[in-house]
């Protein structure tokens, strides 16, 4: 009994030591957070997400590097035979409808919901096959968790239904220069005029 009590006391004391260490760290972290707060990222901005992604060119990228661009985003997977080709076609048609002079600050981003299969090499191949291998187009893959998190932000639902197939929502989303969601269009082959108008309105 005594031994147990002593053990408990030791645990108790050591947890206090840990508490102090962590308080110290906490203050540093708070200071860092105050600095962070002074930047222009708003509460609803996707640039609050800390996730790191890999592009079709095997380059590591953080979302906030895209800050300042209007983003047109969609979640797809490259082995998809049904909905994705049409979503990709919609993206290309949107891209084609934006006047050249407006395109400078617009990025078209396709995020894979199947990061396991969609390696950078595979994304690259997909980009080339679909004539989307220019710097306007960004293909991203991340960890399973970050992908799930990003889908949660976009309100995109998806589920792996077989080793090769996913069932997923078909949503194209537009973000403004600050990373705030400003427009979403759901469906396949729907009229994209509204989406195009929104992008033109935002891009300078």
């Amino acid at each position: 009994m005594k031994v147990r009590l002593m053990f408990k006391t030791i645990v108790f004391i050591s947890s206090f030591i840990l508490l102090f260490i962590s308080c110290d760290e906490k203050q540093k972290q708070d200071a860092a957070e105050i600095i962070e707060k002074n930047t222009s990222i708003s509460e609803l901005s996707i640039y609050n997400l800390p996730s790191t992604w890999t592009t079709q060119n095997n380059k590591s990228i953080e979302l906030k590097e895209l800050q300042g661009d209007v983003l047109v985003m969609v979640m797809i997977y490259t082995s998809c035979k049904a909905a994705c080709p049409r979503l990709v076609a919609d993206m290309r048609s949107i891209e084609a409808s934006i006047p050249e002079e407006k395109k400078t600050n617009v990025s078209f981003v396709l995020i894979s919901i199947d990061p396991e299969t969609d390696t950078p090499a595979r994304l690259k191949k997909f980009a080339i096959e679909n004539n989307m291998d220019t710097e306007k187009w960004l293909f991203l893959r991340g960890s399973e968790t970050d992908t799930r998190e990003f889908a949660a932000v976009l309100a995109v639902n998806y589920k792996k239904i077989s080793p090769m197939d996913f069932s997923h929502s078909n949503i194209i989303s537009v973000f403004n220069q600050k990373g705030e969601l400003v427009h979403q269009k759901e469906g396949l082959g729907v009229n994209n005029a509204e989406t195009v108008d929104k992008i033109i309105e935002l891009a300078h």
């Binding site: 260490i21 760290e25 509460e43 949660a152 998806y158 589920k159 759901e186």
Partner: protein, 260 residues
Amino acid sequence: MNPTFKIVFTFVICSALINHIAAQSESMTIIKGGTYIPLYGIDSTTVTVNSFLMDVYPVTNRDYLIFVEKFPRWNRSNVKRLFADENYLINWERKDAFGNRLLPNTPVTNVSWFAAKKYCDCLGKRLPTVDEWEYAAMADEISPDAREKKSYNQHILEWYETPKSFKNTIGSTFVNYWGVSDLHGLVWEWTFDFNSVLISGESRKDVDKDSNLFCGSAAVGATDLMNYAAFMRYAFRGSIDANYTGNSLGFRCVKNIEIE
């Protein structure tokens, strides 16, 4: 901030948190893997769930307070709207105290998916998948799959009709076959892939794969009450966003079993 520092901070703070909630992390129990047929799969295919560890109890207000103290960015005043709506921890007395309105050992509610996920991450755990949660939750006191028992379903449906059960303390419902408490009867719980549910409806037009979930076929035409209770959960998951918080929605964490 330098990303390396960030990682170091997170690590230090997380490990401190692990120590503080050591008592809680100890109370996990093994759910032995197996196969089951979920409420709706593709053509009633069976789903395989691997063995995993699950928290015996939902995360309490007391547990969550420690987390908020360690991570001030997750307190009510600092949390970003992207990650939690305006009802986040709304029943707490202050941003850093739940006060006298709530008991320490009641399940924490009004937490978003982002917050729940972060909490589990920090303890080296994760949120359960829908399949893991449903698999563990189909047990009653004595059998791993009680879904066809009338008593099991009645218990769940009675709870669905009971208001404010989130004010009850953890451990106040039944301990199931696996040793997990309160899966039914206290609060609804977040799952990692809650957004894997595709419902056709006013906001979801993917009618292809999951149309059997919507309206008639699954719920009303169901063979028994079992589907109705589960249908309610799937429908609820499909209806919420990741920053949603509500006073009947809490969470618990799970952990993979390390293979040595």
